[in-house]
Amino acid sequence: MSQGRRGKINYRCPNCLFRDIDFDLLYDRQIDQYYCRRCNWEGTEHEILFLYAVYKRKYKHMLKRYTVDDILAKDED
């Protein structure tokens, strides 16, 4: 087994992210795999990005713009 290093991009463990812990992944370049030292998650860059997209789904209005008027209008909802 080879030494884990930081990958080209310093990804956080998606599994830890889901439980509100920021924990850096390590990268095993021999087998092109990322893995977490804290939990048991391991996977590819593709899997990381997929899980990040899933993580963002909780922010349903992430791309919605609320202006002052929009926020004031919520008072009357």
Binding site: R12, D22, R38, L63, V68, I71
Partner: protein, 619 residues
């Protein structure tokens, strides 16, 4: 004491602070990966200075003045000192002081310590560092700073600074709700355990920085601000370090797509709305350390987006400034303005709406010299976090103290740390709510989602909870709730009124209760010795010293029910204003480590139960 100083204004004030940290922790880690630690690595220092220059350039380009808070390391860097003098002369930026960024070669050689948090040093070292860095500042600039700051500044430290350097007027004194949730978020390694402060500018008590000062005698002498302006709803159940006026924190929380971060503008706009609840005043602080704009990027975000987000963010404030919607000040100018225009003891309020999760959820926050209260409208308007500032709890921190890192102001209700409305299998969690009973059925109104309506009365702030419908098998009622905060009295008058009923003759029992405990985090603290009392209208008094024995007592015609929590020097009571109410206490047990006090009464259509919740100090 209530003050008449709070007048109507129309001010949204912005402070932008930059700090030439020189050895920011994040960049240092990145630069040194795979190497042993090298404090003062020239590459890191140069990169950090470049970022500082860039941040200043972005602010000035958008017409914004800044406060430059000099770190210990920057006070020993000639290039940085010259640069800062130029900014001061050319743009009128304030040159202030900070205890962040202390670590550098000079500091380590002098103090033989790797400690990085001023509030965690032993008191003798805090005093040495204050004198050392303030005198060094004077040597470099020819005058003492009028502002300082850190992630947290305890009352003992602020009192000492004010005594030695009375010209200090402003301090970045805490990070709002940067406590156990952030500790977890940082893999239990970022020791900013400091829940419990106000979320916007305040004048701290001499006894505890978190608590708002009672009066002139209790005034610590500085205007305090939280490190960032945060989302008052998102931080309730999430790590606060992702939801603030700090674009790179928002990126950390992944509330963005490509380079689009509308949330950061939404946050600013909601802070503009906060003027509505604070007689025309609102405040934002932007305080991004250089470590968040390193060339190596930050986690999965690259330098381009880190930089662009900061450019876009300050450009938005620049645009608002041109429109006359925000006024940029240096932090000392702000402190002077605050002293002249805001009351020493609050209150401060905020009815905050969800702007990220796509719900209609709202939360109401209130703070004055007696308490900080969080009302979750999604939980029928239950009080879900209560910090008893009335006790002005002296709680020294740092090495050599009992609290050490745990610098939060203790709660007496915290529904997320301590279960609240939902427990597994047994007992009850900490919450201030209300139960309605009809026959053998019972509904806790924390299960009824609602929203709030804000208004003001004579020396009081009022939160109306939009009426909720409660369905029993053979009866449906509509219940209206009103909270009236009597400013700086420690009292909240709570009204529950039935405004509609499917059976006009039917009566329901309304049980106004408080399940309480104390603590600073998720774990139970010792309740032994808490004193629970039920006082009858006839003068009878039944008292119980808490021993986890599940004992209960009630009286049919109650004058008052109360609990003294000696561990936090606090007394909390419920007094019926309505006549003919039952009062009770319940002790709790080790698997349900809370106590409960309550007032109940049977009421029908157009009738109400009115009680007064009072929080006071109990030395």
């Amino acid at each position: 004491m209530f003050e008449e100083r709070q007048v109507l204004v129309d001010k949204f004030i912005l402070n932008v602070i930059h700090r030439p940290e020189l050895i920011p922790e994040y960049i240092d880690n990145g630069a040194c990966e795979g190497q042993t630690e090298q404090v003062g690595n020239a590459g890191v220092v140069n990169e950090s200075l470049d970022i500082f220059r860039l941040q200043q350039e972005i602010a000035h380009k958008n017409g914004l003045r800044t406060t430059i808070q000099m770190t210990y390391s920057s006070l020993y860097n000639d290039e940085c000192i010259e640069l800062v003098k130029q900014y001061h002369n050319e743009y009128g930026d304030e040159v202030g002081h900070t205890f962040l960024g202390m670590n550098c070669k000079e500091f380590r050689e002098k103090y033989k310590s790797k400690e990085l948090a001023i509030w965690l040093f032993p008191m003798d070292m805090k005093k040495r560092i204050v004198a050392d860095s303030f005198e060094r500042f004077k040597e470099v600039f020819g005058y003492y700073p009028t502002s300082t700051g850190s992630y947290f500044m305890d009352a003992e430290l602020l009192n000492h600074i004010k005594e030695r350097y009375p010209m200090v007027k402003a301090a970045v004194a805490t990070c709002f709700e940067e406590g156990p949730k952030v500790f977890r978020h940082t893999n239990f390694s970022w020791y900013t355990l400091m829940d419990g402060s106000p979320w916007t500018a305040w004048i701290p008590s001499k006894k505890n920085t978190h608590a708002i000062a009672e009066d002139e005698d209790d005034d610590i002498g500085v205007v305090a601000v939280p490190h960032l302006s945060r989302d008052l709803l998102a931080i309730m159940d999430n790590s606060g370090d992702m939801f603030g006026t700090h674009p790179q924190n928002i990126i950390r929380g992944m509330m963005y797509e490509n380079d689009r971060l509308p949330y950061m503008y939404n946050l600013v706009d909601q802070y503009q709305v906060m003027k509505k609840y604070n007689k025309g005043f609102s405040y934002n602080l932007v305080y991004v350390g250089p470590g968040w704009m390193g060339k190596d990027g930050r986690w999965e975000a690259d330098y381009r987006i880190l930089k662009k987000s900061y450019e876009d963010f300050l450009a938005y404030y620049g645009k608002l400034k041109k429109q006359g919607k925000v006024e940029d000040m240096t932090i000392t100018e702000f402190a002077d303005w605050f002293r002249k225009n805001q009351p020493r003891s609050g209150p401060i309020c905020g009815l905050w709406k969800d702007i990220i999760y796509g719900t209609k959820n709202q939360v109401f926050w209130y703070a004055d010299s007696k308490f900080r209260v969080q009302i979750d409208l999604k939980q029928g308007g239950a009080i879900t976090d209560l910090r008893p500032y009335a006790s002005k709890l002296s709680r020294p921190c740092g090495a050599g103290t009992k609290a050490n890192q745990d610098v939060s102001y203790p709660y007496i209700v915290h529904s997320r740390y301590r279960a609240g409305a939902f427990t597994h299998y047994a007992g009850e969690g900490a919450i201030k709510s209300c139960k309605v009973r009809y026959g053998s059925e019972e509904v806790d109104i924390s299960s009824c989602r609602s929203t709030g309506i804000y208004s003001e009365g004579n020396r009081c702030r009022i939160l109306g909870v939009r009426p909720v419908e409660i369905e029993f098998k053979k009866l449906t009622i509509k219940l209206a709730t009103t909270y009236t905060f009597k400013e700086n009295s420690g009292e909240i008058v709570i009204s529950r009124k039935i405004i509609e009923s499917s059976e006009p003759a039917a009566k329901v029992e309304v049980d106004e209760f408080l399940t309480s405990c104390w603590g600073t985090n998720e774990y139970p603290e010792d309740l032994t010795g808490c004193l629970l009392s039920v006082i009858g209208k006839n003068g009878s008094r039944n008292e119980l010293s808490y021993e986890y024995r599940c004992r209960e007592y009630s009286v049919e015609n109650a004058e008052c029910v109360e609990a003294v929590i000696p561990q936090v020097q606090t007394k909390v009571s419920l007094t019926p204003i309505s006549e003919g109410c039952k009062g009770y206490y319940e002790e709790g047990y080790s698997f349900a480590p809370i106590f409960k006090i309550g007032i109940s009464k049977k009421i029908g259509l157009n009738q109400e139960l009115v009680t007064c919740l009072r929080v006071e100090g109990a030395k």
